[in-house]
Symmetry: C2
């Protein structure tokens, strides 16, 4: 079993108030590279820090890592356009971070990313692939492609209070900048990413298409960015079944009716609840308050833990252990008190 972690960055993420994935634009640009290292090695190697939100909520990559230590799946990072170097073993599919979604063409290489990702998935020896993502600001670009495709699904947020009005404004500006009416790119998902998306969306959609082409089982693991990726796949005219695995934090988010959307798209929804209310610690409590929610394959990793018979209690214990080791006891105590 291999988890493919699609990592990228965009200038969209630097819009003030858009993302919780890093305390400042400079740090945010490091987050996907750091996430990939955490999942690969259990600690940062080139990255200057472990991503935590300003109040100490750990990146979902730490949950994915905790599960990986218990379950033992393989992980490969797919570099769809990282802004920082990473020590994580990565397949380089793109070399350009996405530009601001309010540029006319924020993902100029969308078609090339899509094709390379499809080729990669077709050639991968595994029969079953799980696809995660790490890209700050990703729900805004997800909203962008959904609107370009003419779909009304909502998006979640890595912040407790979804800055949805801001996202809608940004997407409206982005549609204007691209000279598009909502729905103008229905049925043309590669163009929707090129003009309204981010590099990870092209890559994820390509991976799903390539995997399905080759007869593989594929699960997209994440929240509303994966909903957008699934929508892209359906707008390619592909009807084959695949699954979306996410966390209870996204499924419970009022900003999006994930079950209805999954039904509408014909995607099998799997929701896993890590039971974070049973652990009183900074590593878990911020998730209960709605921070982060999902990312870096967290929902897919939790599903793999469940499949392997690993209890959520064991996952939480491992998460706390890693948090204390990497972020520090002091922070864990102070925030968890």
């Amino acid at each position: 079993m291999t988890v493919l972690l699609v990592a990228g960055t965009t200038e969209t993420a630097t819009i003030d108030g858009i993302s919780a994935a890093g305390a400042s634009p400079d740090l945010m640009a490091q987050t996907p590279a750091a996430d990939a290292e955490l999942v690969a090695y259990g600690r940062p190697v080139f990255a200057p820090f472990v991503p935590v939100s300003p109040d100490g909520c750990p990146t979902p990559a730490l949950v994915t890592r905790a599960v990986r230590e218990l379950v033992g799946f393989d992980v490969v990072a797919l570099d769809a356009g990282l802004a920082a170097r990473t020590a994580a073993p990565a397949v380089r599919l793109g070399s350009e971070p996405g530009r601001d979604v309010r540029d006319p063409e924020p993902v100029a290489n969308a078609a090339a990313l899509f094709d390379a990702a499809a080729e990669y998935a077709r050639g991968h020896p595994d029969e079953s692939l799980v696809v995660g993502e790490t890209i700050p600001g990703g729900t805004t670009t997800a909203l962008g492609v959904l609107r370009a495709l003419g779909e009304q699904y909502g998006v979640s947020s890595s912040l407790p209070t979804n800055p949805i009005a801001l996202k809608r404004d940004v997407v409206a500006d982005a549609l204007d900048a691209s000279g598009l009416e909502p729905g103008a790119l229905s049925g043309d998902p590669v163009a929707a990413v090129r003009r309204m998306g981010d590099p990870t969306l092209a890559t994820i959609a390509g991976l799903v298409e390539g995997a399905l082409d080759a007869g593989k089982t594929v699960t997209v693991a994440g929240g509303t960015q994966m909903l957008a990726a699934a929508t892209l796949v359906r707008h390619r005219g592909i009807d084959d079944p695949f699954a979306l695995a996410t966390t209870s934090f996204v499924a419970d988010d009022d900003g999006v009716d994930l079950r209805a959307a999954a039904d509408d798209l014909g995607v099998d929804l799997r929701v896993t609840d890590p039971g974070f209310e049973h652990t009183d610690h900074a590593a878990t409590e911020h998730y209960l308050a709605g921070v982060a929610k999902e990312g870096a394959g967290m929902g897919g990793a939790l599903a793999l833990a469940d499949d392997a018979g690993v209890s959520m209690a064991a996952v939480r214990d491992r998460l706390v252990e890693r948090y204390d080791e990497l972020v520090g006891d002091e922070r864990g105590d102070a925030d968890g008190a």
Copy 2:
């Protein structure tokens, strides 16, 4: 246990008659990328072919892969300057293939490669690392750095008849082009690589230094290129013990007294004989005739098999199975008859 496979290319490899690692310069440029995919996935993904010599000798990467399937070690490719894209999960340390060793400065980024590799090895979580290489033409650049450092060790070849006179001529021309007398760069190994080497040598030496710095056990796995890398480490003034693991094909090569060199350098030599004379097949027989001999971590992988109690007969069976599957029965039968 992790095997780090350092992969790169140079224009030196395109000198006619230098290397067996690919039938033509175009194909040779693909070999390291293909080797990394083979070890990672057991088959080519982006690579257009499985590297075999013109007479059907499989790349040593296939042996490393066969052992990996039996032993289960992790592998990470380190891209020190590949000329072709690779689907192998890789850490990108350099982006420039090496130039012709007869250029004044064939590895302009030698210092950066060395530093990044050392940082990577220091940060890697494993206590024990094995370092292999895949770079066509690597023994010629190995000879180049040995002469620049003033060491008289010989080098082996991936060809049955070592084109040593050609290599010596190339190295003499390279010294002239760099304005160097033999031994002029003794004690300055980074400059020796920059002016007379290839990108993998800087990377391997940096990995060894970083691993030793961090108190890890490290084994360089390969033939005379690893002897050159070990020499670079010693010329950095580092006296810590480390090991060199190679195949019996290199150890038995008349072109180099590997045992004497290893003794001289204070490096623990470990030689593993895969017993290829016991298997009558195209996958093994060319090695008995002196083709390939070593590469892509083969000697280190064989040592890991031995450590894990996996028999060489099991390694040979797996190698034959993979060869028949990837290269084809016909070739196996025709050449093995």
